[in-house]
Symmetry: C2
Subunit: 191 residues, 2 copies
């Protein structure tokens, strides 16, 4: 299954299979069950996750006590609370499995060491962060520019498989409205 990680790396940078064999021991592979937490609020965030199979989400509990999902990660996506991870701080987020998942895990100290020992991976991570940043900039534009209905329709248009795959109450949590409101919009769309 680590083969899919190798394929992902070589999309962005040249890396021999023999070098990949030296890279892999920096990671642990874990299996998590649906709804299992990989990170909880208040924990020092020391780990970075790469999804081999399944789906994770990141959320925080807002001041009304409601879970607000801010990101999902499916196969070939990285996920962590990046500020807390980089600075070794307690996180304000939870990371939880949406489905039974298989995940590669690396600690911050090991990621730093990995990059020093295998500088070819600087190019890989540069692409990962560059694309994540670009997606996040677009997301900020949508948050300013779109009504809740428009945000939902945009998501259906851009990520149809994702909207099918993830439970509707989590789509609602990602878009910042109640599951009831989402049902209403979906019914309006059908009628």
């Amino acid at each position: 299954m680590a083969q899919s990680f190798y394929s992902h790396i070589t999309k962005f940078t040249k890396l021999e299979e023999t070098e990949f064999e030296a890279v892999l021991p920096f990671f642990k592979t874990i299996k998590v069950r649906k709804k299992e937490n990989l990170l909880i609020e208040g924990q020092v965030c020391k780990t970075h996750f790469f999804v081999l199979e399944g789906c994770l989400r990141k959320f925080f509990i807002n001041n009304k006590g409601v879970e607000q999902t801010t990101e999902f990660a499916i196969e070939n996506w990285w996920l962590t609370d990046n500020i807390a991870y980089e600075r070794g701080l307690p996180t304000e987020f939870y990371i939880q499995a949406v489905e039974n998942s298989v995940v590669l895990v690396i600690d911050k100290q090991l990621q730093d060491k990995l990059l020093l020992e295998h500088p070819k991976l600087e190019r890989y991570f540069r692409f990962i962060y560059q694309r994540a940043f670009a997606a996040s900039q677009m997301r900020i534009k949508y948050l300013y520019d779109f009504s809740k209905e428009e945000a939902y329709f945009q998501l259906c248009k851009n990520q149809p498989e994702f909207v099918q795959r993830v439970p509707q109450y989590l789509i609602a949590s990602f878009l910042g409205f109640t599951p009831e409101y989402l049902s209403e919009i979906r019914n309006q769309k059908r009628s």
Copy 2:
């Protein structure tokens, strides 16, 4: 003045002065006057900007015809519309000088060439995008979690010099409310 760019690079990666001399010709240095546009909506976004002196902002015109500022860049910050830049697409944004500014400019094709010829800079740009992404993730949390007043007070707390430096109507545009509403909050804060 390019010296400040060299200092910024060497905060993140080792680079000899002699190698920096080979890097610098990949960039043009331009001077822009306050309110001058560096990028306008509909243009193919081919350039990445690094602020040596001054301040730029990025904004789009929302469906009410109002300028919505999404990012600022002061000294040592990079700025572009990253999705359009990476894919060579027309942009939905404007980039404009907030103050008279001095800016380093690099074209996408040259940035790609630069990274292939000087792979040490992969590490530099990896840090740049990693930090930009982390800041942007935090921004998304604030957009979900904070009322407009809270967002303003948070900005005053985290970036006091920035709030002093940038005109108030642009702070209002960044936070997504009218200048009048910002005046009201500031008056409440004083009283």
